[in-house]
Symmetry: C2
Subunit: 125 residues, 2 copies
DNA sequence: AGAAGTACATACATTTTGGTAAGTATAATT
DNA sequence: AATTATACTTACCAAAATGTATGTACTTCT
């Protein structure tokens, strides 16, 4: 995940553009694992390895990286207990819960349209 | 953009997962240029080169590719007039308009939260 | 006559993303 | 004594995404 560049002067025109800050945050929310993490954490707290198992097959590298991106965006809250072996809890901030809801909404909409979409593909493809 | 794989038997668990069909459609909608195209075409028809100018700096390659992905998903309608020089109109299907609305909603939400997010970054970073 | 505009396709190069494997410190378990 | 579990990091490599350059076929503008 990248750092956010400063807002360009002509902000209005660049909304959603690849180099626009909002675009990068959106990318974090909808990234390969970002969306999954948001949905997995909705309403509950999970530890690193629990989350990993919940998502099925994320590499530790990507899970850590994606979580950090969401954390610096203020979507995820990380609480580390200083014990051995390590114990770290991840949960969503209020803003993160909102984001999760929106992403889930989009996902649900896509799922609802999937039969239609796949039928189109089958017909034309 | 990839072809959609068949739905795996344990569909419920894989929703949004990287290899799930719905995930790929979502990826098309939120891809670097996909989101921009949806918003740019909302409620209007544009030709290839108009769209290109509207988006600012897409390469022809990416514009064509992304449009094709959205077209096979049934989001974009392509109408080619058989004249020389070529003239091709792009617009959103009803489903595409819905998708555009949702994506725009997400984008707006992110923009609304941007000050908060950037303040967090500035404070912690 | 030469250049520009149109909507792409294709080959090639580069950038970005993601995975794999290994390392870290320490306690509990076998 | 070796293994397992935890939550990561780092180096390295393969794969995917994206950009660049070029070609096409024909017409209009200069």
């Amino acid at each position: 995940m990248k750092d956010l560049p400063a807002l360009p002067p002509d902000h209005e025109a660049n909304v959603l553009h690849p180099l626009c800050p909002s675009r990068l945050v959106l990318a974090h929310l909808t990234s390969r694992w970002g969306a999954l993490i948001l949905v997995a954490l909705e309403g509950r707290t999970l530890r690193f390895s629990q989350l990993r198992r919940a998502l099925g097959n994320v590499s530790e590298r990507m899970l850590a990286q994606t979580l950090q991106g969401l954390e610096t965006d203020g979507m995820v809250r990380r609480v580390a207990h200083d014990v051995v072996p390590p114990h770290v809890d991840y949960s969503l901030t209020p803003m993160g819960e909102e984001a999760a809801g929106l992403v889930k909404g989009l996902a649900r909409w896509v799922e609802g349209r999937l039969p239609e979409i796949m039928a189109l593909r089958a017909a034309r493809g």
